[in-house]
Symmetry: C2
């Protein structure tokens, strides 16, 4: 039996469109919500009670095949019975009502909860620190990087100096040193102040906010199809790596860490090659900096492996790997004991994560492994990619630079511009497909891990139908 | 029937100490947890299943009267039946397993969930934006402040300029302007990078981290008892207000917002007077800045009113009020429509909060109102404060500067130094009381809202017992 049928015997066979999107009930609900909350970004209002598997139902009764999955986050479909079971467990109920300050008062099940998540950790990573969102995960990782960098500088065991203790209270060096995280143009790492300083995909994410003046390197822009442009793309990797190297050599303050997405997702599904990622790894080693791989969007099976960077056998493995979205919990994995700060209470806050969300992450990981869902994503992605290649031939103006071959369902393509792209996304809703964009001109597919060939067929037919009318 | 008896018919009658703290089982569990997580800050390992009401049980079987409540967060006692009911509800289970991207795809119950929280919003506040932790709440509030400040500067309706759109991608002005948030010495507002830049209570929170060089004013240090030092304390208010005024006039970059705790909690339970808070309000109005009141620790009834700043009738009401801890959810309240950014997707992220935690916050608020728990805290706090005054007379060396009169159970006092304080906190565990500190030399009481006279008696007897041995 297919995995979606196993989980969802009542999953609809097809989308159903009964109104415009947003329909009148959604519009009224968005207006009402606007009285208490900023609801202007709402596409429609969902009825999560009626949603099932790969289908999201709205309050007007429209049933969408959902290949956006709450901005790449829902891992196992709506109302997945295995997760409902986890949500009803006594352990979960306690985690909800007796939320611990995990650093000071861990519970008897804390080790087991964390160990369950670590079962699906990236290769070589055996510890984690937990946070609450992708942005939070990245900023906690930055803290670990800066602690490590300064500890190394002062020889690990030394106490802080009086000057450090005094100057830090004025937000001044040496206690609060000028250090940088290097990231990339078109990167997205979150929207708080430090994570936002590493984000570089759209002005709207950052305008009017003070930021750290941290360096941005160029991320490779490859020519597609990749297999016909190997020489040029290798030259592009070399060009971008030399920019990174140059920034390490010339940036006005020390660069303590390098932060990279294996696939820049919000920024346009820009894939990195194995050579580029290994080149970055080599540069960090050469310059005594740490490598953080941001797998907030690419992690937990969506690219056909548990973690996208595992496609590349980066050696040695990255120092820190951040996660969120499909794990429904957030934090970073690491392996080097030197990334544990030299004192307690340095990486610390009241809650140190949310055990309720951590229990869910463990349950998600358990299902992902049990049913080898990365392999399902790979199988379905290969099937879907071939069909999209055919559509690309048929509609070359509307499916450009198809990306994501051998990356399971983590697929994207470009249209001519933002207007064409936005029209396409809106039109797809009229045939019952909820689909998302990235960058200004691209469409990204981010279905659940229980998206199968039958769903891919519906998606492809819907794309064909819309594009045939253009 | 008393509220604790109503909720917890099986609540223990007294603490029970069966081992050292941490006992052997806790020690083994802390060591094991250390293999996957930084467990060095753990005091002991809790058995939340066995904990009930005001009593926290550890894995060795010690039963502590808990007046620290997971760093001032547990609102209604361990395993509160009303919250268990909320945790078991279909609405909660859906919020756990179908976590929405709340900005893009709110659910049919989103408005109701938010409206329930707003029922206990501070006076005058009618909207909220949701986040995930106290630090996150403050940083989201900073974003709202900076958006507002720049929008006002450019005349609200104007689009961004090409120069702004380009410079922001390089983290440079004018798109990323140099603006500041003013906070206070000894303040605690969180430990991410921007919130950390406003925090100024202990070096360990900030060492080795880059920061924004934002201004810190002095927070009043009053002489106790307050009613015998009114003239001197009024002069202290005036002195500190003039420092704030001077910073607004002279700081090298514009100050867009002022951030203040009504009672600096982590920083030592430093209370602000009505005159000081109103003075701050007046200065923000004069200088065209916004006032953020951080009620992360003081909010939701603990000081005898729903929100601590409501003791002071600040006029006009603060622009933004941040919350977390006792609400088990986080975010900020506001009322001015101009604090809604001029475009969608400016205050935005994937999840925009966690409806599971928001449902719990609504359930907490419902119980707080239904049983008028701020009044309970006031009644019990007055009872407790009198007993502590008597102990202060008996042990003036160990109970200094008793603080929190008329602030319900939000009570603190100082000892001679960090050594004396830490010894006291550890000794209290030997008689079955879990109690916390603040600043270097202070003890803070942060019991639940269902802490009553019978618990206060046990606490006072325990303090008396320990101090009588000194």
């Amino acid at each position: 039996m297919s995995i979606s049928s196993l989980y969802f015997p009542t999953e609809p066979a097809a989308p159903q469109v009964v109104s415009s999107s947003p329909g009148p009930k959604s519009q009224a609900a968005i207006t009402a919500l606007g009285n208490v909350f900023d609801s202007r970004a709402a596409y429609f209002v969902s009825d999560y009670e009626k949603s099932v598997g790969n289908y999201l139902v709205d309050v007007d009764g429209n049933t969408y095949l959902d290949v956006y999955a709450q901005i790449a986050s829902i891992p196992l479909g709506y109302n997945n019975p295995a997760l409902i079971e986890a949500a009803k467990s006594d352990k979960m109920i306690r985690a909800i009502v007796d939320r611990p300050a995990l650093g000071n008062f861990p519970g008897k099940d804390s080790e087991e909860i964390i160990a369950e998540i670590l079962k699906v950790a990236p290769k070589g990573q055996d510890k984690l620190w937990s946070g609450l969102s992708g942005a939070d995960a990245n900023e906690l990782a930055f803290k670990a990087v800066f602690f490590w960098y300064q500890s190394k500088k002062r020889g690990y065991t030394t106490q802080f100096t009086a000057e450090e203790n005094e100057s830090v209270m004025k937000n001044q060096a040496p206690g609060s040193p000028d250090l940088a995280i290097l990231s990339f143009e078109r990167a997205f790492h979150g929207r708080l102040f430090a994570s936002g300083s590493t984000t570089c995909s759209k002005p709207i994410h950052k305008l009017d906010l003070p930021s750290f003046n941290w360096p941005k390197a160029e991320f490779p822009s490859y020519k597609y199809p990749l297999d016909q442009n190997e020489t040029e793309n290798a030259a592009e990797d070399a060009r971008c790596l030399s920019i990174v190297e140059n920034l390490f050599n010339t940036w006005k303050v020390p660069i303590a860490g390098l932060l990279v997405e294996p696939i820049q997702s919000e920024g346009g599904d820009n894939h990195a090659s194995k050579a580029f990622l290994q080149g970055l790894r080599d540069i960090t080693l050469k310059h005594g900096a740490l490598m953080i791989v941001d797998e907030v969007q690419t992690g937990v099976g969506a690219t056909g492996k548990l973690w996208a960077h595992e496609h590349f056998d980066i050696s040695p493995v990255p120092d820190l790997v951040t996660f969120s979205k499909k794990f429904q919990s957030a934090g970073y994995f690491f392996h080097d004991p030197e990334l544990v700060p030299n004192f307690a209470y340095r990486q610390f806050n009241t809650w140190c994560g949310d055990p309720a969300r951590m229990i869910l992450a463990g349950a998600i990981g358990h299902e992902v492994v049990k049913h080898d869902l990365p392999a399902v994503a790979k199988r379905v992605g290969d099937y879907l990619y071939k069909k999209l290649e055919a559509l690309q031939t048929k509609y070359p103006k509307y499916i450009r630079d198809l990306r994501g071959k051998d990356r399971a369902t983590f697929i994207a393509w470009s249209l001519a511009d933002v207007t064409a792209r936005n029209k396409f996304l809106a039109d797809m809703k009229t045939v019952g497909v909820n689909i998302g964009g990235c960058a200004e001109d691209s469409v990204r597919l981010r279905p659940t891990l229980v998206f199968e060939e039958k769903h891919a067929d519906i998606l492809v037919d819907a794309i064909d139908k819309i594009l045939s009318g253009y």
